[in-house]
């Protein structure tokens, strides 16, 4: 057969010789470095925290203090049901709390997330090699490089919590697969990836939850059937348990001290509202999987949600079905079960993600960032199909294909990564066009008032959603205390900023609606801005002290 069965505990880099060894190391290192390079280029282009990223960065400043966040960002559930709830956990805040202190307010955010994504991508490549040797590593490298191209270079360092889940979700899938294959030493990888992805966003939580269940059941069954193997691997298993305990301790403390976030999430999930529904969700899945799948093509923000043709629906069904059928065929012909395990895990997360997504509010249909599971499912279904295909090649053909695949796919992957990272201007990334505007507005505010405590207010959607949070973060990073109104938009700022009391040193009002100065105010900046569609507008900064 084309592919030999892997060693029992997986392939090892040290068992390779010569060129193959260096090739594997180079692929893993490339994916580990890519997020840092992309982040460094963005910083050099003038990247600024704006919008949700700025709010996340602001709240991260509270991590490792007495006001430390115990939960994640606010969910949008309040808009639909009126119930305030938060994403499951604060892992992102705690990571960024450290990197901000070490690297500063801009680089700390970019490189903090780049570190998470670098570990996730290197982990995916490492586990792909461990499970399938150089051929699977080559296929995975190509798949992930295409995924990065489809999502954009900013996906490699984006602190937006829904985006952060992307690569850790992929790592959790590979981690659960490794456990299922009997490689208990990879348990800490699954635990860490599931903690990051599951805490940052509910979409990540619904993706990784079944993988954690599979991991736990696998370890339980191994304990019954092969207790000696479990005792042998007790150290990594204990580390995995420790990661889960420490990682989920803050949300647990929140549940015990109240109010319960789980209860709020449950009330939100079971409230009465119009849901996306299974038909629309399955249509989206068809768009994600049918040729050409989402992960091989840049779509813009709404392309992922375009209704598929009838042919695309049938093609997607064939691709998903064939990924499992071919894996079954591999098992029958070779007794090699890893491709089937991978296909079945992919099918499991597909089903659970469809069910979870179908229960979302209809407006979730507009949120590409909260639907990254579609890109991932498309990628891993095709990866599964390709890997089974490699196993089923006739020996003579396989002997010719393998060397080309092992050397060619990583080379193409590298070329794609270099092109994507080197040729994506900041202006083409989310909020990129408004980052210089945010920087100028923030500079005007900090130049105009002395350090102290200031109440910020926003007028206009551009300011409320994007520029205002960026100014608030910059003020906080330079030692100012900021307060904002207590409303659904501002929940992410944290209770100390929405419910703050005590004297104010002044007020800062930022508007994209009117240049009119109110009584007691002075205008300190007029910044030319851009509106969606290419028009021009302005943003005005007013202060009163």
């Amino acid at each position: 057969m084309a592919e030999p069965r892997p060693p029992r505990s997986g392939y090892r880099v040290r068992s390779l010789e010569g060129r193959n060894r260096w090739l594997v190391i180079a692929v893993i290192a490339t994916f580990a470095l890519a997020p840092f390079v992309a982040g460094a280029i963005a910083l050099a282009q003038g990247w600024q925290p704006t919008g949700d990223v700025a709010i996340i960065a602001l709240r991260s400043r509270d991590a490792w203090t007495a006001d430390a966040p115990l939960l994640g960002q606010p969910t949008t559930g309040e808009d639909t049901t009126g119930v305030r709830s938060r994403h499951p956990g604060p892992a992102e805040f705690w990571v960024l709390g450290l990197t901000q202190r070490a690297l500063g307010p801009r680089a700390g955010v970019v490189f903090g997330i780049a570190l998470v994504d670098a570990l996730a991508l290197a982990g995916v490549m490492g586990l792909a090699f461990r499970r399938g040797g150089p051929p699977l590593l080559a296929l995975t490298a190509l798949t992930v490089a295409l995924l990065v191209r489809a999502l954009g270079a900013s996906s490699l360092y984006d602190a937006f919590n829904s985006e952060l889940t992307t690569y850790p979700m992929l790592l959790a899938l590979f981690g659960a697969w490794s456990l299922l294959a009997g490689d208990l030493r990879t348990a800490p990888v699954l635990a860490a990836a599931a903690t990051v992805a599951g805490q940052a966003h509910l979409a990540g939580a619904t993706f990784v939850a079944p993988l954690l269940v599979v991991g736990a059941v696998t370890v339980g069954m191994a304990w019954r059937r092969h207790p000696r193997a479990v005792r042998r691997d007790r150290t990594p298993l204990l580390v995995a348990g420790g990661v889960l305990f420490v990682g989920w301790l803050p949300p647990l403390v929140q549940e015990l001290s109240g109010p319960s976030n789980i209860a709020a999430l449950w009330r939100t999930a079971t409230d009465s509202y119009t849901r996306l529904g299974s038909t629309l969700t399955l249509e989206r899945l068809a768009t994600a999987v049918a040729p050409p799948p989402l992960f091989v093509r840049p779509t813009g923000r709404f392309g992922f949600a375009e209704p598929p043709s009838a042919l695309a629906v049938v093609a997607a069904a064939l691709v998903i079905g064939a990924s499992v059928s071919l894996a079954l065929l591999v098992t029958r012909r070779t007794r090699h079960r890893d491709p089937l395990r991978f296909a079945l895990l992919t099918a499991l997360v597909t089903v659970t993600s469809v069910v979870a997504s179908a229960g979302q509010p209809l407006l979730a249909a507009l949120r590409a960032d909260a639907a990254r599971w579609l890109w991932l499912i498309g990628a891993v279904v095709w990866l599964s199909l390709a890997w089974s295909g490699v196993h089923l090649l006739a020996d003579r053909l396989a002997d010719r294909v393998r060397p080309v695949l092992i050397a060619g796919a990583p080379a193409v992957a590298l070329a794609i990564l270099v092109l994507v990272i080197a040729t994506t201007p900041l202006a083409h990334q989310r909020d990129g066009a408004l980052m210089p505007v945010t920087a100028r507005a923030a500079t005007a505010a900090t130049d105009a008032v002395a350090p102290g405590t200031y109440q910020l207010s926003y007028e206009g959607s551009q300011v409320l959603i994007t520029v205002g949070p960026g100014v608030a973060y910059r003020l906080a990073a330079e030692g100012y205390q900021v307060r904002v109104d207590d409303n659904s938009f501002n929940q992410g700022y944290g209770p100390a900023r929405t419910n703050g009391s005590g004297p104010l040193d002044g007020r800062i009002r930022i508007s994209s609606i009117s240049d009119r100065t109110l009584e007691g105010e002075r205008r300190v900046a007029t910044v030319a801005s851009r509106v969606p569609g290419g028009g021009r507008s302005s943003i005005w900064v007013f202060v009163s002290t």
């Binding site: 119009t274 038909t279 840049p298 392309g303 079954l328 949120r367 969606p532």
Partner: protein
Amino acid sequence: MRSRSSALLLLPLVLTLAVAAWVLSVRGSGSGPGGYCANATVVVVELFGRAETADDVGLGPLPSLTAMVAKLDQVDLTPLQVGTPPSIRDDVSVLVPDHNVQASDAELEQALAQVVGDYLGRCRTA
């Protein structure tokens, strides 16, 4: 034994094709599930997608009305006519004229603003 094994191999394909057939049959039934909001979601998302000019694939402001009006002729708007709420029935009829009466761009912009605004409010909490 061999036929049972072959049947097992084909089972995933049969299952996924059955799901695809169900999706296509529900979709082809006219009003579809979920009523006006589900239909409007399909229309609004396609319109946003065609009018979008940004390159990123994340969250951001919606496309401008002008850009959306320019793409109206590329989108099938007839699903908006199924179960249309009375408050926006006139606006939908401007967007989907019954007798080939072409509205001006200004009228289209106004009607589209009403329909999209209604959608964003109604279908958030419906």
